[in-house]
């Protein structure tokens, strides 16, 4: 390392790898990962979310949780916004996960057609 800017570059790279330990990101995304979720394909959804979020520097923390309760609609992804507002996306796959990140986190617009309200299930 020859200069302060070399050090800064290493720092910026290293920061990305440990950012998850700081918590307090703007958005929190939770993926249901109980047996039902895993069986319906929640694992690729989870890894896609983690990878895409890191690649695009989205201000999100991606975590997993147990069964959310609507097993027929798994994989379920919940997005908690800065004000604690919650959006529930259902029947998510990797492609939808990318779109949700782009629209909801990137542009601040809820991707309505993938939400539980649009799923047609009477709640």
């Amino acid at each position: 390392m020859k200069s302060l800017s070399d050090l800064q570059r290493i720092r910026d790279e290293a920061k990305k790898r440990v950012s998850m330990r700081e918590g307090n990101q703007e958005y929190r995304i939770v993926v249901g990962m109980a047996t039902c979720g895993i069986a319906a394909g929640a694992r690729p959804v989870l890894t896609t979310l983690v990878e895409e979020a890191a690649k695009n520097n989205y201000p999100v923390t991606v975590t997993q949780t147990g069964c959310i309760g609507m097993c027929t609609l798994e994989p379920i992804v919940e997005v908690f916004g800065p004000q604690g507002d919650k959006t529930t996306y259902v029947l998510v796959d990797s492609r939808k996960a990318v779109e949700i990140l782009e629209e909801h986190i990137g542009k601040g617009k809820v991707k309505t057609e993938y939400t539980v309200g649009a799923s047609g299930v009477a709640l």
Binding site: L4, L7, Q8, R17, V18, T35, Q64, G66
Partner: protein, 599 residues
């Protein structure tokens, strides 16, 4: 695949002794077994502070903290938490919220952490101490970069002076001033020494910093080198800290390979190298001049001052010696500014102080608090008070050089000057809590025994005087003491204080003087009534059985290892033969009817 979970396992000395190294291995093998190894990273980290509840494990980004984890729990955590996303509640660190009386798991709501402020320990339990990139991610080496690129040596010293940082090793000498003395010496070979010879019984602050964040100390030493014009540093550390030594070695190697130590650091004209010097664990080598002698390969014995090390130190060259915790504060001060640092703490003691809480306290461990926090807050709110609802008796601070503080002192804000005014001292940060079951004479005897072992022998008052003091304390504990003994002790203690050369001898009688002043009644009970009120000094105890309470069950007699108890089951009450009794207390523990008493 991108990592999505980091499992941080405490790898400090405390948790390692309860198998945290095995836990790490188990985690790695289960994570692989469940095919999670590309998304879950298992990391060894430094001390989380709550050693009482170790081994501690943190899982991020969930911010879940598990405590008292055993190797047998690992499979469950991997399957339930890492695979299925269900935290293992039974192992989660929790506290009871004082207002709602409900269980809380949020780390910020746990009282042990709520009142703490981590500056010196900021990276402990957060980063992997064996990975320089993780330190750099927390702005590591940026303070050194800032100093080299945009500050003159004098500006660095001025900033440290302005911050009000004082030495954390005991004396509280202003760090900036010390640096100034060495910087004012003519140009030429100078040295920077980090004093990691932590010797107070019960103190482990410096060890934990070196184990959890070794780079912060290396970075600060390089900054100090730049400030005073030195290009060589020594870390003097005791060989009995193997984990700290090994992490320091790794850290030095990594810093060298990154060019953050060595020649022309970060493209500047500044060279700096660091070497480790292992000490054999002599208490006196924490004293500056003895430490220098030891580094030079001579026997660790103090020399008269002046000349001070800043003028003539190691190899006769200008040298600054700072303690580990002092150094750990330096990079943050340069990055966040002297004004930020001096806004924390009291008028004359700025910043925070790390304490090692030990003794009769619920939360044994490492705490860092802003100066000015009261002893009551530390002992009751952070420490959780004395276990088993026992009454608090005193807290011993400053190790063998310090003294005791009592109930009356609990509301005193902790800082360098307040503790000295109360007859104790900050010291390096050991805080041993005593409860009603501790005999104060016995405690004084413990410290004196330590000093007798550790006196280097150079000065007669310390070498012979402390030995005589110990004998007198033994007399008091064993019932041979008189009022004259107490008088002689005080007299001798003051003479040792006045006539010893170094800090060790000058402060050696402090535990005796402090306890004699604060707990004279307890000493008097020993020498006049020949009783030990706390029931510790065996020679002064007698066990007996209250005939009216005895149910003649024979349990006590069965437990007695010397056959000192006689009676007839169901017919005659039991009695203890004092001439055979060895005062082990087994009968008292065995009796279910409180018939055995100790006076």
């Amino acid at each position: 695949m991108m990592e999505r979970v980091h499992v941080l396992v405490c790898a400090g000395t405390g948790c390692t002794s309860s198998q945290s190294d095995v836990i790490v291995e188990k985690f790695r093998s289960y994570v692989r077994q469940f095919d999670l190894h590309e998304e879950v990273k298992v990391i060894k980290t430094g001390c989380f502070g709550l050693c009482q509840k170790g081994p501690i494990i943190a899982i991020h980004p969930d911010k879940t903290f598990y405590c008292h984890v055993t190797p047998a729990d690992v499979e469950e955590i991997v399957v339930e938490h890492l695979y299925k996303g269900r935290p293992v509640k039974r192992l989660e660190l929790s506290d009871i919220d004082e207002e709602t009386k409900e269980k809380v798991f949020d780390i910020d709501k746990i009282r042990f952490y709520a009142k703490q402020m981590r500056i010196a320990l900021k990276n402990c339990g957060v980063i992997n101490p064996e990975d320089i990139d993780e330190y750099i991610a927390q702005d590591g080496y940026m303070a050194l970069g800032k100093a080299l690129e945009s500050m003159t040596s004098q500006q660095v010293i001025d900033e440290i002076k302005k911050s009000g940082l004082r030495g954390r090793g005991g004396g509280g000498f202003p760090t900036g001033l010390k640096w100034q003395f060495a910087a004012n010496q003519p140009k030429g070979q100078k040295y920077v020494i980090c004093n990691a010879d932590e010797g107070d019984p019960g103190a482990f602050m410096d060890r934990s910093i070196l184990e959890g964040d070794p780079h912060s100390v290396l970075e600060a030493m390089a900054i100090a080198g730049y400030a005073i014009g030195a290009n060589h540093g020594y870390v003097y550390i005791r060989a009995e800290y193997p984990i700290a030594v090994q992490r320091l070695e790794t850290a030095i190697e990594q810093a060298k390979s990154y060019g953050l130590l060595g020649k022309k650091i970060l493209g500047s004209k500044f060279d700096f190298d660091i070497e480790i010097r292992l000490g054999a664990g002599a208490f006196v080598c924490g004293e500056e001049t003895a430490l220098i002698a030891s580094i030079e390969g001579r026997r660790g014995m103090p020399m008269p001052k002046p000349p001070f090390p800043a003028i003539s130190g190691v190899w006769g060259k200008p040298t600054i010696i700072n303690n580990v915790e002092t150094f750990a504060n330096v990079p943050v001060i340069l990055l966040k500014g002297a004004d930020w640092f001096s806004s924390i703490g009291t008028e004359k003691s700025k910043g925070t102080k790390v304490f090692a809480l030990g003794g009769k306290i619920v939360n044994t461990g490492l705490v860092e608090i802003p100066m000015g926090t009261t002893l009551r807050e530390v002992i009751y709110e952070i420490g959780g008070g004395c276990p088993g609802n026992k009454n608090f008796k005193a807290v011993q601070t400053g190790g063998p050089s310090g003294g005791c503080l009592t109930e009356n002192d609990l509301d005193t804000p902790i800082d360098f000057d307040n503790l000295v005014a109360l007859g104790s001292m900050m010291g390096s940060g050991g805080m041993i809590v005593l409860d009603e079951d501790n005999c104060i004479v016995d405690v004084a005897r413990f410290y004196m025994d330590f000093i007798v072992d550790e006196s280097c022998g150079k000065c007669t008052p310390c070498r012979v005087g402390t030995k005589r003091l110990l004998e007198m304390l033994n007399d008091v504990c064993e019932g041979r003491g008189t009022l004259q003994t107490l008088h002689d002790m005080e007299d001798l203690a003051n003479k040792i204080k006045d006539t010893s050369l170094c800090g060790l001898g000058q402060t050696a009688p402090n535990p005796v003087l402090s306890t004699l002043r604060l707990f004279r009644d307890e000493y008097l009970a020993h020498v006049v009534k020949k009783k030990c009120p706390s029931g510790v000094c065996k020679s002064l105890l007698t066990y007996s059985i209250i005939t009216e309470k005895c149910r003649k069950c024979s349990l006590c007699a069965k437990q007695c290892p010397t056959g000192a108890i006689s009676g007839v089951p169901g017919k005659e009450p039991y009695v203890i033969d004092a001439s055979k009794c060895i005062k082990c207390g087994a009968c008292m523990t065995a009796c279910r009817f409180d018939a055995v008493v100790r006076v």
